[in-house]
Symmetry: C2
């Protein structure tokens, strides 16, 4: 997920940087859309508010993510965007982006490809969260992310992984510990090796 690799140089050149203080609003529901944003640092929450003032977070975007992609195709924002922390963003104006898409089908395709990959990944996340058991969730993660050698190297901390998986970090630690004890996985620093059932040195547990 290299940073905005789907942007043609033309578009990237048109990006406008902007910073937000913690709590500051980027846009509000109903406002005319000006374009989409890339979060460079900090985090931005997309929030929907109902008529009684209740809030629901639609998404919490961290550095490297895009927000408001769909705003390209509609006239008004459908949620509020607020900086959860101080943040730096880059705005890619709608007109520039759409104009570029129209005359450069490569660029449009790259964008579509980027979105299609996101959809895949998100569907996988949702699917994973349908699994109740922590252990099976971890297994799912491992199967999906293992290389041909059956190894997964984490790119973040275990806490981050726990959040990804929808578990508390404690639950994740324990689950990994149990799986290791059972010989289902081996851990070496940042990487986890999954062990095929047939060559486990059975240390039972449960």
């Amino acid at each position: 997920m290299a940073n905005a690799d789907w942007l043609s140089p033309k578009i990237r050149a048109a990006g406008i940087e902007r910073t937000l203080g913690r709590g500051e609003t980027l846009f509000r529901s109903g406002q005319r859309t000006v374009g989409l944003y890339e979060v460079l640092s900090g985090t931005v929450r997309l929030v929907r508010v109902d008529r009684t003032g209740r809030e629901a977070v639609l998404h919490s975007a961290a550095a490297g993510e895009m927000i408001a992609e769909a705003s390209l195709f509609s006239n008004a924002y459908h949620c509020d965007a607020v900086a959860t922390t101080a943040a730096r963003l880059r705005l890619y104006p709608k007109s520039v982006v759409l104009g570029e898409f129209k005359r450069n089908s490569e660029a449009a395709q790259a964008f579509a490809a980027h979105l299609a990959r996101q959809v895949m990944g998100l569907r996988t996340s949702v699917e994973r969260r349908n699994i109740r058991s922590a252990r099976d969730r971890v297994r799912h993660f491992l199967v999906v992310n293992a290389g041909a050698n059956g190894m997964v190297t984490l790119r973040g901390t275990l806490k981050e992984l726990a959040a990804d998986l929808g578990l508390t970090h404690e639950a994740l630690y324990r689950t990994l510990a149990r799986m290791a004890k059972d010989g289902e996985i081996q851990r070496v620093g940042r990487t986890i090796r999954t062990v095929p059932p047939y060559d486990r040195s059975h240390k039972k547990s449960r």
Copy 2:
């Protein structure tokens, strides 16, 4: 989410129907991509298999959904697709779709818009599943989906909603029952009305 409304008539015309028996394979990981599919009826599972044979479902696509959108932009499939039930699909060949996108930027844009909306929705799903409490999950759903009048009309059964929310149907029934008892919502058949805190006829509960 009207059926494939993002397809230009050109592309739609090129769709090739196909049926699969339960358990039949649509494509396998590593095969050259031929295009993307629309599920017309039945359900199709996308599955990744690791070298020990363990499976992980990436997505389970029901009628009306597209699968393998990302295959448009890569040369080989990265998972297997298997019919969970007998199914009817429509294949939109890659060459046709990409060709159309190249010469008709409207079509490409419609596709991108479709994907962008999916991303939004999926991000919201993931966010919702980060909420532990059943009641708060339901609240999140209500806030996100309520109309200006604070009403939500379900388009499916409660069981389906429960699955969407990542709850068992029992848990959902109970949660709704409690919310109704507390005056937080009112239910009239298929629709749920959220009641602002200030005008609840307080029937307390636990």
